[in-house]
């Protein structure tokens, strides 16, 4: 795609050379007149997560998954809203006996938004983009087992692995299939999805329009406009006044009442994958002592915190695994709230009079509130908490990279991210060889059942070790106008499939 009509109209410096293109684009791409409802309706989606750029391997942030995954770009596989994985651009696939060779046959008749047909070369190029040395994709590591990619003909892709990788289809659901001739992927796109990029005004909105040559089922609407806000209040007002039809993820619990008590709106609660946790630096004293970590887990009444922040919403968790992951086990009974035994454990660990430690706290909600709550709870068992407020940017330098901390609060948004506990170099420094082995073995499992068994065992072990202090799982709340239906509820990995959204009269 070339520059959108909206953007070229706003670019004073290039007006001269852009005029002709803009005129052509205006005739071709701008919607004749956005329909208010029905099959060609424009759906206005309100969100707090504007992408930084349009490339998910260049640090675009979670906003790009929301706007583009499944809407503009598709992958070989799709992560569905219920957590299952199904083929998308793959028509069918074969796995060799030893699990090291995957042969994929591509869907026929798939066209990129630029008009080029999808071929196996595009797929190879797209996967290599993510595994390349300058890729900033957080999924780069999970694709490490890929040894080579072959393209014997235009419709076949053969991936050879150096070791078994049972999650390969799942991991490929993150790899956008992009036209290998595409240029400037930070501000344009060339995907195969049901919508093509129509225009992006930075700091304001991003519009996608139904792609008429889409190979799959026709979307239920004609255009989707993601409108971006920096303030939750402004976003709520936009829904109240009808400027947006649906809010992808409500982050201000106190605002829910105005929608719940209003018959014009629907409040839907799904399951998120966002976990709030107090991560200790398990490398340093006193947190290298399991008893101390278990004591602190027992000293905190997670339920009270969840209710204080989210009222009746959200879920309590006993480990890092949310209920939508296949290896979920209810572990809330492991080190459940029990301040008396917490004191006893602290004494056993050699801290009868408690100790003092610092929580590096990101400066945005809900971390400061959670830090103060922890300060109060831990004071009751004699542990003194100092709160050090830092910015999100500083967090990466000080904690993620330098491991220079005692404990920190952080929200982890990804699905299936228990694997972080199998990496002893990860920022929290949890290192139990048994868990490292289990997580490694789970990836090399022969069947999904075997993988699930191994990860369940790892899950139980990290809870037993109180590797971190998992406070709660965020709710995923979507609020919409009553007339708007068909949106995804769980928003796994911040995805927001828009093709099913309908707007009634």
């Amino acid at each position: 795609m070339t520059a959108s009509p909206v953007r070229s109209a706003l670019k004073p410096l290039s007006v001269l050379k852009a005029t002709t293109t803009a005129t052509l684009l205006l005739m071709g791409l701008a919607p004749a007149f956005a329909a208010e409802s029905g099959p060609d309706a424009t759906i206005n989606v309100g969100s707090l997560y504007e992408p930084q750029n349009l490339d998910n391997t260049a640090g675009a942030g979670q906003g790009i998954n929301e706007a583009f995954n499944g809407n503009v770009y598709e992958a070989l596989f799709r992560l569905n809203d219920d957590g299952t994985v199904s083929p998308s651009l793959v028509k069918d696939f074969k796995v060799s006996e030893d699990g090291l060779t995957y042969t994929f046959t591509l869907q026929p008749g798939v066209t990129f938004h630029s008009g080029d047909p999808l071929t196996s070369a595009d797929v190879k190029w797209s996967i290599e983009r993510v595994t390349s040395s300058d890729s900033k994709s957080s999924r780069k590591n999970s694709l490490k087992p890929i040894a080579s990619i072959e393209t014997p003909d235009e419709a076949t892709v053969i991936i050879k692995l150096s070791s078994r990788s049972i999650s390969l289809p799942y991991n490929l659901s993150y790899v956008w299939v992009i036209n290998d001739k595409a240029k400037d992927l930070q501000s344009t796109e060339d995907g195969t999805g049901p919508y093509a990029l129509e225009g992006w005004q930075r700091g304001s909105q991003l519009a996608v329009k139904r792609f008429d040559k889409y190979w799959g089922p026709k979307p239920e609407n004609g255009e989707v406009v993601f409108k971006y806000f920096t303030e939750a209040t402004a976003l709520n007002n936009a829904l109240l006044t009808g400027a947006v039809d649906v809010i992808t993820s409500v982050q201000s619990p106190d605002s829910l009442a105005q929608f719940k008590d209003n018959p014009d709106f629907t409040v839907a609660e799904g399951k998120s994958t966002t976990k709030l946790l107090l991560a200790y630096n398990d490398r340093v004293a006193p947190f290298d002592n399991v008893k101390v970590r278990k004591a602190l887990a027992r000293a905190v009444d997670d339920k009270k915190l969840l209710e204080a922040v989210w009222g009746e919403y959200g879920t309590l968790i006993g480990s890092f695994v949310p209920p939508t992951d296949p290896w979920y086990v209810d572990l809330t009974k492991t080190d459940a709230y029990d301040p008396e035994s917490a004191k006893a454990l602290l004494a056993e660990a050699g801290y009868p009079d408690g100790f003092t430690f610092t929580i590096d706290t990101p400066n945005y909600d809900p971390h400061p509130i959670a830090a103060q709550f922890l300060q109060g709870e831990l004071a009751k068992v004699g542990v003194k908490v100092e709160i050090n407020v830092i910015t999100a940017n500083e967090w990466y330098t000080k904690i993620y990279k330098a491991h220079d901390f005692q404990a920190t609060l952080q929200e982890h948004v990804n699905h299936r991210d228990i694997v972080f506990y199998g990496n002893p170099d990860f920022y929290w420094g949890y290192n139990n060889p048994k868990v490292v082995d289990l997580i490694k073995a789970s990836e090399e499992a022969k069947t999904v059942d075997e993988q699930t068994e191994k990860l369940k065992e790892a899950n139980i072990q990290i809870a037993e070790d109180a590797a971190s202090n998992w406070l709660y799982l965020y709710p995923q709340i979507v609020v919409s106008k009553k007339s708007v239906t068909g949106y995804p509820l769980n928003g796994l990995n911040s995805q927001f499939f828009a093709y099913g959204i309908k707007k009634a009269e």
């Binding site: 109209a9 750029n53 260049a58 780069k140 501000s187 402004a234 006044t241 330098t397 993620y400 972080f420």
Partner: protein, 306 residues
Amino acid sequence: MLIAAAVLFLLLRLLPGDPANALVSVGADPEQIEAARRQVGSDLPIFAQFVRYLGQLASFDLGASFVSGVPVLEEIGRRLTLTLPLTALAFTGAILIALPLGILAAVKRDRWYGSLISVISQLGVAIPVFWIGILLVTAFAVKLRLFPSSGFPTSGWWRDPLAALHQLALPILTIALVMSASLIRYVRSATLDVIGSDYLRTARALGAGYGEALVRHGIRNGAVPVISILGIELASTLLGAVVVERVFSLPGLGSMLLSGIEQRDYPSVQGVLFISTLLVLLVGFAADLVQRLVDPRLRGPSGARP
């Protein structure tokens, strides 16, 4: 300008954090982080970064954003198409509100409404901008549904000026109200000076009516200090609209600065501050020019006021 650039450069680097962090996410391995640092140049020593920056400035190249890859100058140009008209309209609104009210408050200072204006403007100075914005949104957007609660005229200014004006009515009003609160006080005190002056007494002694004397001799004299205040107000609004832009989710220069700081996107922050410094200088220059036009005494070779 060079000193300003150097100070700015150093202050930014004193902030803890790294611009490369905006490019990575949890799950990135050490090699990916190093690659990101190389890409944005934060792996170089500070002095080398500074030399590189000066080289760019010399060729008026503000660089490209670390985060979005867009040339900073292009992005600023786009943001100014919102910020400049917004500021200009709000500024005009503020003058239209503040001039009559300020003069009225001075002339009728013994009446109840004269005092009321003074009290209200005093209050207006004390109330935070975002609160005024939220109140206006609640009243005119959420309750009365007269204006949109937020957003930017997507059709642009020129294709449909009325729609754009409607879209931006509340932010314009918010800035105009806040600006006029302090302006009223300046206009009032300038008018009081004029009223107490000898030349006005002389004019009246020569037979001019109170109103006539004030209009013929007062406005010109009173305008000089007010214009310099206006210049300062205008300059501070160019960037001071940050809060208003946030409340109304507007993609202006202020919000670009704010997100640039959050992400340690040095080229964006430096670019915005560089351009706004230029704008402030221009506004100051313009204010000087206008003062000279209004007051012939300032046109002398020394330019000194008597």
